[in-house]
Subunit: 147 residues, 8 copies
Amino acid sequence: MKVYLSGEIHTDWRSEVEAACEGLDVTFTAPVTDHGASDDCGAAILGAEPDKFWHDHKGAKLNSIRTRNAIEAADVVVVRFGEKYRQWNAAFDAGYAAALGKSLIVMHGPDHQHALKEVDAAALAVTETPRQVADILRYVLTGRLPG
Amino acid sequence: MKVYLSGEIHTDWRSEVEAACEGLDVTFTAPVTDHGASDDCGAAILGAEPDKFWHDHKGAKLNSIRTRNAIEAADVVVVRFGEKYRQWNAAFDAGYAAALGKSLIVMHGPDHQHALKEVDAAALAVTETPRQVADILRYVLTGRLPG
Amino acid sequence: MKVYLSGEIHTDWRSEVEAACEGLDVTFTAPVTDHGASDDCGAAILGAEPDKFWHDHKGAKLNSIRTRNAIEAADVVVVRFGEKYRQWNAAFDAGYAAALGKSLIVMHGPDHQHALKEVDAAALAVTETPRQVADILRYVLTGRLPG
Amino acid sequence: MKVYLSGEIHTDWRSEVEAACEGLDVTFTAPVTDHGASDDCGAAILGAEPDKFWHDHKGAKLNSIRTRNAIEAADVVVVRFGEKYRQWNAAFDAGYAAALGKSLIVMHGPDHQHALKEVDAAALAVTETPRQVADILRYVLTGRLPG
Amino acid sequence: MKVYLSGEIHTDWRSEVEAACEGLDVTFTAPVTDHGASDDCGAAILGAEPDKFWHDHKGAKLNSIRTRNAIEAADVVVVRFGEKYRQWNAAFDAGYAAALGKSLIVMHGPDHQHALKEVDAAALAVTETPRQVADILRYVLTGRLPG
Amino acid sequence: MKVYLSGEIHTDWRSEVEAACEGLDVTFTAPVTDHGASDDCGAAILGAEPDKFWHDHKGAKLNSIRTRNAIEAADVVVVRFGEKYRQWNAAFDAGYAAALGKSLIVMHGPDHQHALKEVDAAALAVTETPRQVADILRYVLTGRLPG
Amino acid sequence: MKVYLSGEIHTDWRSEVEAACEGLDVTFTAPVTDHGASDDCGAAILGAEPDKFWHDHKGAKLNSIRTRNAIEAADVVVVRFGEKYRQWNAAFDAGYAAALGKSLIVMHGPDHQHALKEVDAAALAVTETPRQVADILRYVLTGRLPG
Amino acid sequence: MKVYLSGEIHTDWRSEVEAACEGLDVTFTAPVTDHGASDDCGAAILGAEPDKFWHDHKGAKLNSIRTRNAIEAADVVVVRFGEKYRQWNAAFDAGYAAALGKSLIVMHGPDHQHALKEVDAAALAVTETPRQVADILRYVLTGRLPG
């Protein structure tokens, strides 16, 4: 099963999910999680831009080669909304995955519940912790429940 | 041409776009813009829920009947990011529209430029004002430029 | 908006929905609701079959010309599970609509709740009365809530 | 060839099919067949719900991650209708598979023939025993007939 | 309802179907039924070819502009196999329609039954007369049976 | 590259193509080429039918499990029209493959040229011999021309 | 029938086609044919860019809103290659239309025959004059041949 | 990751990209780059044609078996526009890839910038050198930037 881990890149939630899934037949993919590389890749490879908009534009397009291919190849898309930043790209990925009919799992704290209600409504599961994501993947693949 | 106007519901940007498009062969659609009705429609029609999550869930699903049908029927999807709130549903709609191959026009102020770079990268135009959106629609339909 | 009314054919729930939607811009479609005609159409048009299986088979295929075209053309599919019969064709229609990404509304009494949980989980609304279906369609089309 | 075995979970028909297919190049998938785990997985992983509807809802959605992925990946979908329960999820799966253009094989006893006529009409084979399903798969893969 | 009438062009079965459907909300489309024009259209418009293969090739491609657009736009495709000629284009149209998921109705005499078994197996109805085709369309559209 | 070899089952053209492709990275698939098994598989597995139509119907549907899966999985579909029989299933397969956008190669003698002009017009190559088919596959895969 | 007229914008071939189609049930669409407006629309509406690449980029994206919507809505796409300029956008449109399965008609002079062989190979007709295009459309719609 | 290298066949840019990607998990595909074989394959395999148009036509169709299968299987399509020839097939491939939603990377010198603006607008990256293409693929696959 191919699982794309979208969203927050400033905590180690991805490695927690992966560690908790040890032994399962899952292949994880993710965006580039090095914030600096992700921001500057366009200029670094294709040349500097004096205008911040185009600097960002070139980088965002390069990143979309990775993210769109990964979402399209995924069976399950997990989108994590963290505490910081606007995270519109996470919500964009969730909409993208939903339109493709991917199985969507959302992860966020209770304080974001109301603001994320449209995203949650498109999901097959709304979780709060990496452990819950791993428990879902284990159950989906093996039928075993935690505990 | 069918144009879906997604996003911010607390300013009158939709009526500005529509007024500036007078005379053009455009049909506009939009989400329900009455914030209270949009929040409470699920409970009002299907029955109250003691848990806020399910209250919101029922409402968000009803709203998605309208929004998904409108996005799928649209030729062009305009997504406006305003100054207030998290607006994750706007970004979700943008991702949904992008995955369906819809022509995407984004509208937001310059302060959101960096945070919206992934959304902007999927768009065919990034605008700041309702006038620009109307100018684009007029040009696309008639070939006439402003001024 | 095109709405297909699938399922139970032995009560007048369809006319109740239609009456309660008066004035709305909705086109309703439905299967043939004459039970006898629906059962015997294959033999009546294409010739009698001594074997009940093929008698039913010819009829079911003719009916599927109508139902599949209607589901594929629909924006919203409403599936009503009544009190009587197995109603596997209703559940089949729900699955068919879900796979096509149609907006699904389910209607059934509370006694069927557990048995229909997989169908309900694919729906954007679970209702109990024709009035609720009409209220949803009115809200989706006009933004107006009941009462 | 990937074959999804949908429907009844209270008899050992799946293992009979699999045993009778020994030596064939077939990968079988199936829903979680532990009735208790299937009913309670949502609450067990995502937290208890006081309302039975939402308890079931959370579970049904988790199960759909497994079932939809398996149906979409399958070349052939076999749906078994047993003697007990409403089995609307089996009919739902059949409709879902039909809409995706999957090769559908139905298995049921003669007493369900009339009630399942719409489902049978969408199938490429209507069988009564696991042996017949295995015979079909062997013939499809190798061209060899039984006996 | 849009109905494409494919196949035999040397009898008046199309006008019989159309006459028997008078009053129904059906739009009929068909290939060019002037045999000479159909054979020579390519050369007549695009220039003569010394080689019969290319003469036919240019014509067949022009005809496919009409036939493919009509099949893709159709809700129902009726394919008539007559007594004369090889009629491979009729079988080709049937396969084309089947792959697009169109509702397929086949018409042929009993002597072609065995040779057409694969085509019949993909059809929702196998008829022998224009009257039966019209009866099906009337039933599908109005629920009324003949007689 | 996956290549489906459709059509005539009474000569050894398939083994000629396969022998001439030795060493190439091609996987060939084909219908069941045992005429008797292909005709009687439905009755043999699912039970006898007194009516020849249903006897054939059950068999044709079983065969379509194999053929449709193979066509849908194929990169290239080769359709051979031989000297004998009506071969409507060959033309049906060609139409099916064309509608799915598969690369179509047709093989037939010059005497069938006019009758097959619509099928030829949908093909990317019209051949007369197994050797030509193998030469095409070798060229497509390696860039090497014969001789 | 909807026909998109792509390619060369410096001669009056579009009006010749349209005039020669008078009386036919055809709706023609086209790109913006005012060369200056087409080049500068992005900067005129969205703001000037010091870098020519981004000036062109903004304009090309606005134009693609019109052209992609028109190609996707078209039944037939006609692509004219003129005598001047590189005309890569014409070839791009042809590839875009081909991938969507649109009926493609190409128009160009004999001197471009070899260079356009891949484009011609994807077309259902290769023409040299507006008259031929009109003759094709008339034949496709009415069955009437010229002269 | 599967990467199709389309366009110019008269320089060694493909081997430069491949060499610079050593160690990456990339599978490269390409058209036949032997100009003579590519031009004459149709006649060589299927027989000579006195008319240059049909000579080219038969060859272009054989080549399209390879190129379309490769584009459809690719995750990323790189299109190189060189200094010589019209290269309409390169632009055609770019349009074909864009319509299929493939990630498109374009490579060309600055002198072609204006003429290629529509192609560039559909791309996720516009490059000038094989090194840049390789840097993009490395970044997309590993997150590592050059230098």
